[in-house]
């Protein structure tokens, strides 16, 4: 969905800004009195901005905090610390009432379309409720719901059916239609196609692409499938164990991943092309992600990283901004020359606890 025209608002304020966002889940234990014995560091000091009309992809292994991050943005989970701004206004601590107009502009589409549609409601009710909340008069809701359905590639007569009468792909279309019903500016897509078959995946991805152009939407696209994310995103965030480790323009991430974790993640994905696959040299990431209750010191990736040295064990790497808006948090970056490192600077989005050390130039291979 790259290359779409940015909608209205030329005032330069990003749609969403996140500063040092932290979401910790307490772990309680005890019979009568719950004592907090630790925290799961789901999202740990993450900062980024989403521009209007942009598609921002978020990738990472399961448990890296990508879903929690997205849920924190719509305030489905509470931020422990940090600031979330929507069009420049701080919404981190807004009340339910204050959030209502904002939630109209931010909608979510979930991974499992079966679980996210009420099985007892007909499609007309599923789409009618958000329409009425937007202020559409009762007499017009049915016509508008019909429009929405046809817009997502379904037929008007589907209005009277229940969710179980549809296939997974169709249910996901209904989920998208429901999100569109309140005329949002931003849609947060949490693994929207991973439960679907490949041929249906392609249909839904194409649909999302069309809708983005038509309604000037911004997307945040969470997925574990890096090839799908590459196809849809303008920029991509790579997360590891609650930390943002790299944020890069989409194509560049695949051509020159700076963080060793990003390249490990890319190498792990097989290519649907046998000859290319045989040619590829694939440095595999060994091991498994560590426990987010007690994350490793310094750089969180160091126990699995082939380039780790002493500094990685002790000092948390700052986010370093390289040319072209490519940021990475690594002491030993890959695919960057000494000159590029010299031209780089410490990003303001760096975690608060990060060290000041500039990255070391190593081999650029």
């Amino acid at each position: 969905m790259s290359g779409n025209t940015t909608a209205a608002s030329g005032n330069g304020v990003p749609l969403i800004e996140v500063e040092h966002l932290r979401v910790l889940f307490p772990i309680k234990q005890g019979l009568l009195i719950d004592r907090t014995i630790g925290h799961v560091h789901a999202v740990d000091d993450v900062s980024f901005a989403l521009r209007e009309g942009e598609t921002l992809g978020i990738v990472g292994e399961s448990g890296c905090g990508k879903t929690t991050l997205v849920r924190a943005l719509v305030r489905l989970v509470h931020a422990t610390a940090g600031v979330i701004r929507f069009r420049g206004a701080d919404i981190t601590k807004s009340s339910h009432r204050q959030l209502l107009p904002i939630r109209r502009e931010m909608q979510m589409v979930f991974q499992d379309p079966q679980a996210s549609l009420n099985p007892r409601k007909r499609v007309s009710q599923i789409l009618g409720t958000p329409l009425r909340l937007r202020g559409v008069p009762r007499s017009e809701t049915e016509a508008q719901a019909r429009d929405l359905l046809t817009r997502v590639g379904m037929q008007g007569e589907h209005l009277n059916r229940f969710p179980h009468e549809f296939s997974g792909g169709q249910r996901q279309r209904i989920g998208i239609a429901r999100a569109l019903a309140v005329d949002p500016k931003l849609i947060l897509l949490d693994e929207p196609v991973s439960a679907l078959d490949v041929s249906i995946q392609a249909q839904v991805i194409n649909l999302l692409d069309e809708l983005q152009g038509e309604f000037q939407l911004s997307y945040m696209f969470v997925a574990h499938d890096l090839s799908v994310v590459r196809h849809v995103s303008d920029r991509i965030i790579v997360m590891y164990l609650g930390k943002l480790v790299e944020i890069s323009p989409a194509k560049e991430l695949y051509q020159k991943p700076i963080h060793p974790y990003s390249s490990g993640l890319l190498a792990a994905i097989p290519i649907p092309d046998p000859q290319e696959n045989r040619k590829r040299d694939r440095p595999l990431v060994g091991g498994e992600p560590p426990n987010p209750i007690n994350p490793p010191s310094g750089c969180r990736f160091h126990p699995r990283c082939p380039r780790a040295t002493d500094i990685c064990r002790e000092v948390e790497p700052p986010l370093t901004e390289y040319a072209g808006g490519h940021l990475a948090a690594c002491h030993h970056p890959q695919h960057v020359s000494a000159a590029e490192i010299a031209a780089s600077r410490r990003s303001e989005a760096s975690p608060l606890g990060a060290g000041d050390e500039a990255p070391e130039a190593g081999e650029t291979a």
């Binding site: 399961s62 692409d209 993640l265 097989p270 649907p272």
Partner: protein, 350 residues
Amino acid sequence: MSAASSLLEVEDMRVSFATEDGLVRAVDGVSFSVAPGEVLAIVGESGCGKSVTAMTLMGLTRGPNARIAGRATLGATELLSASEGALQRIRGGAIAMVFQDPMSSLNPVYRIGRQIVEQIRVHDPTVSKKQAMAQAVELLERVGIPHAERRLQSYPHEFSGGMRQRAMIAMALSCSPRLLIADEPTTALDVTIQAQILEELRTLREQTGSGVILITHDLAVVADIADRVIVMYAGRVVEQGTLDELFYDPLHPYTWGLLGSITRVDRDTSEILPAIPGMPPSLLNPPAGCHFRPRCPHAFAKCGEVPELSARAPDAPGHLDRCWIEPEQKRKLRVVGDQIGLASPEPVIA
């Protein structure tokens, strides 16, 4: 693939289930063979019959409402008509299976070690508990679980998804099966763990020479590990060939659609993905003739009859497909290679 060298021969297997709504033809005449040391991938969308094919081989689809016909021979045994007792010896022995969800296929109330030991001793009662335990340690080490001895004392919930799947593979290997059936073994796992598990499967195949049937919907995984590929659609095999034939000279329009609709991590795909319109038919009431006809952009009058699965291209006798269009004509129609940037369809000498 000559019959003499093959490990498993499946001929015209048909599985249907009587339901309240009518007869569901889940598998409709499937034939294939697996050679020792070979990875045969069965690909297709959900509901195409790939899992039912695998489960029928293991005798797991038998039931009062199931009708099973055809032949499947593993060595001297005919699997489809074997008695339950004979099957019990074969399951876990000559044929082992790894399922998609490792959590629901391990018993949550027994330690991992006990479950592996049980499997070893059921198939060979002469092995002592102690010997079996030693074997279990070896197996876990072989599939890359660190601290195997300690890990045997863990319960399944203490394992991560990847480790559970490794434990499942260790269990499957405990009786040195001649055939390993892996049903979506990596679908529930992260890509990094998927890569590790696939590497594991590759090594094991080389070390043990077992045949592997890999069931998956992920063509990238197929490209990574398979030797030969079967594409299934709505209960039938629509195309069968070597890995390179299928990727560089796909002959069935459904295969084109599948290959066209995937995104690639290593290069740009066109802005709009060439998706297959519509969705797979219901197996209760599939379309007459070629099942793909309603979604096929090249369908013509003749497609109302069911095409045979046969070798149509004179230059590739092992490459079967089920489509009425002449191969030469298809090679002209086919645009999929350009769409997803596959290398030119020159045959590769493997």
